[in-house]
Amino acid sequence: MGGLKLSDVPIAQREQMLRLHREMLRIRLVEEAIADRYAEQEMRCPVHLSIGQEAVAVGVCQALRQTDRVFSTHRCHAHYLAKGGDLKAMLAEIYGKAAGCIGGRGGSMHLMDPAKGMISSVPIVASSIPLAAGAALSDQLDGNDTVSVAFIGDASVEEGVFHETANFASLRKLPVLFVCENNLYSVYTPLRQRQPDRVLADVICAHRVRAVTVDGNNVAAVRRATEEAVNYARAKDGPSFLVFDTYRWREHCGPSYDNNLGYRAEEEYEEWKVRCPIELHRRQLRSLHLLSDGEEQELIGELKREIDAAFEFAKAAPLPEPSEASTHVYA
């Protein structure tokens, strides 16, 4: 969209661009607030932060309806928020409180808000892929045009269940999107040590699944690519595999930076940081004069007030009763 003039951009698209910015910024601020407070040791569960990867969650979810279904992984904060999950319930869940989205049963890795279409998060690599395909099968049988999304990471394509599901989804033309956030690392192990040199999206071609690779730090491009895939699925043409190249800024699990460990080069991190998804989009907004510095500061203030209030709520909320632990084993 370089060189665009504001007059070229329809009002609806301007609103959408601001929404993309707002949603990414909100996720960034929530994640940073978690990182800032993590050392207090009151969030007593592992946290896998999405800082640096916000554009994928936001770009994808902005192309979905609320009734579309999202399945996520251990790194689910951004997906949950982008799909409209309740912030207070998310933080309360991470704090292990009764008011958590699932009452402290799952913690950070199991976030869900089914009413918003955030169906489930499963922290075993690739485990939620077939769940999304199953939801898609159910919708296909019902004859509706709902679409299901499985967010996965680059390591998921190494799992058999990815290929098993891709084969089945292609065979039946299921309305499902496999959305891969390729952040180049599985914990500390780089992609090149786990997979041969290849185009990641190509692995699904033998299953005859439509595959697209897009800059995962370009939120508008993510949204467009997703919209195309969603339309394809709604038209009953079948699944898509979307590979969004992006980068996790902080450690795999926890609040800190870990470039000092030496598993990846500081320069690599710096290169990706320059390509911050929020900054890239902000530049676009600035050049179109859609968002002034003052307006953004106002937005940041508003979001921080919301986030601070949510943290206060989560901290003050009571822990669940021990007797609650043995309920809901069976329906």
Binding site: M112, S127, L131, A132, G134, L141, F168, V329
Partner: protein
């Protein structure tokens, strides 16, 4: 529930599946070869003719993914019935079964339900060998959130498979292949046998025998032989392994003071171990003798009929142990065992005894 006819357990299950699917459009079927000439040992044969082929879903050879697909569909309100020809194939899907099927309701604080039936066939005989004839019910029974059922009799099987489909939880239904041939009286139409615990299938006062699946038939045969010797045994068909309902077993042991368990799986860490532990820790004072567990020995199941001699417990093993617990003279037990062996008329040990076909 009008007519009562005699049919075998495999056909009873097919009737149950068909009735449930006709009644509830949410029921879907998935298997490798779901509608092929075999149709899961005939148990899913022609269901598509009744309900339409749309709900009959052929599975690629992808057990893990298709189990996940079934779970995902179940979370959305479908009632999938997933079928595995051998329990060993379900091993490829354990991640999905243990994590997503068993825990989704719990983790979601009750928001999600997983009304899923997973039928797995176990069995023995005809040289099936180490990876085609295991009985892994204890593995499934270890996991909270799953229900595990093992019907023995046709009437139970039909009503229990309907109950499993109606159930809002993941139900693992373990079917012994030899039990598919067991005949019995089965009502027509739709009826539910609640998944509510064990059933006393033979009344007695001297000893309690708790059995699962095919071993229930062996236990009943042993009980009938004991009767001829002037002793009576209560045989309890466990039916529902998880959640375990122990009260009827405790009640029986309070009367008899003696307990033998006999199940189709490995003895160590097995179903019998759980039953015995529950009885001993809750009714120690009622016991007149140390309980006995009968199960498979501590090695894999070999193929050759030469190697499986003595591998499986049967009515004669039960009799020997019951004889010791009841102080029955050795020669009397030996004579009874000889009679049972003679009744087999030299039949090879890798095929079921015709005695077990019923009707029951």
């Amino acid at each position: 529930m009008t007519q009562v006819r005699t049919i075998n357990l495999g056909d009873a299950i097919r009737e149950g599946l068909t009735e449930a699917a006709v009644r509830d459009p949410a029921v879907i079927f998935m298997a490798e070869g779901i509608a092929d000439p075999s149709s899961v040992y005939g148990t899913t044969k022609d269901i598509g003719n009744r309900i339409g082929m749309k709900r009959i879903i052929e599975m690629p050879i992808s057990e893990n993914a298709l189990t996940g697909v079934a779970i995902g569909a179940a979370m959305m309100g479908k009632r999938p019935v997933l079928n595995f020809h051998r329990v060993e194939f379900a091993l490829l899907a354990m991640e999905q079964i243990f994590n997503n099927a068993a825990k989704t309701h719990y983790v979601s604080k009750g928001r999600h339900r997983v009304p899923l039936v997973i039928r797995v066939v176990i069995g023995r005989g005809w040289g099936q060998g180490p990876e085609h004839s295991q009985s892994l019910e204890a593995v499934f029974s270890h996991v909270p959130g799953l229900k595990v059922v093992m019907p023995t009799y046709p009437r139970d099987a039909k009503g229990m498979v309907i109950a499993a489909i109606e159930d809002d939880n993941p139900v693992i239904m373990i079917e012994h292949r030899w039990c598919h041939y067991v005949a019995g009286h089965v009502p027509e139409g739709y009826y539910v046998e609640p998944l509510d615990g064990p059933r006393v299938v033979h009344q007695g006062k001297d000893i309690t025998i708790v059995a699962t699946s095919y071993m229930t038939l062996e236990a009943v045969r042993a009980a009938e032989a004991l009767e001829k010797l002037g002793y009576s045994a209560t045989v309890i068909d466990l039916r529902v392994l998880r959640p375990l309902v122990i009260d009827p077993i405790l009640k029986s042991v309070e009367q008899t003071g003696r307990l033998i368990t006999v199940d189709t799986g490995f003895k160590q860490y097995g179903i019998g171990a759980e039953v015995v532990a529950e009885v001993v820790s809750r009714r120690f004072d009622a016991l007149k003798a140390a309980p006995v567990r009968l199960g498979l020995p501590d090695h894999p199941t070999p193929s050759s009929r030469g190697l499986i001699k003595g591998f499986y417990p049967d009515a004669t093993t039960i009799l020997q142990n019951a004889g010791k617990m009841l102080d029955i003279a050795d020669n009397k037990i030996a004579q009874t065992i000889d009679d049972i062996i003679a009744n087999r008329k030299g039949l090879q040990i890798d095929v079921p005894d015709p005695f077990f076909k019923g009707p029951f």
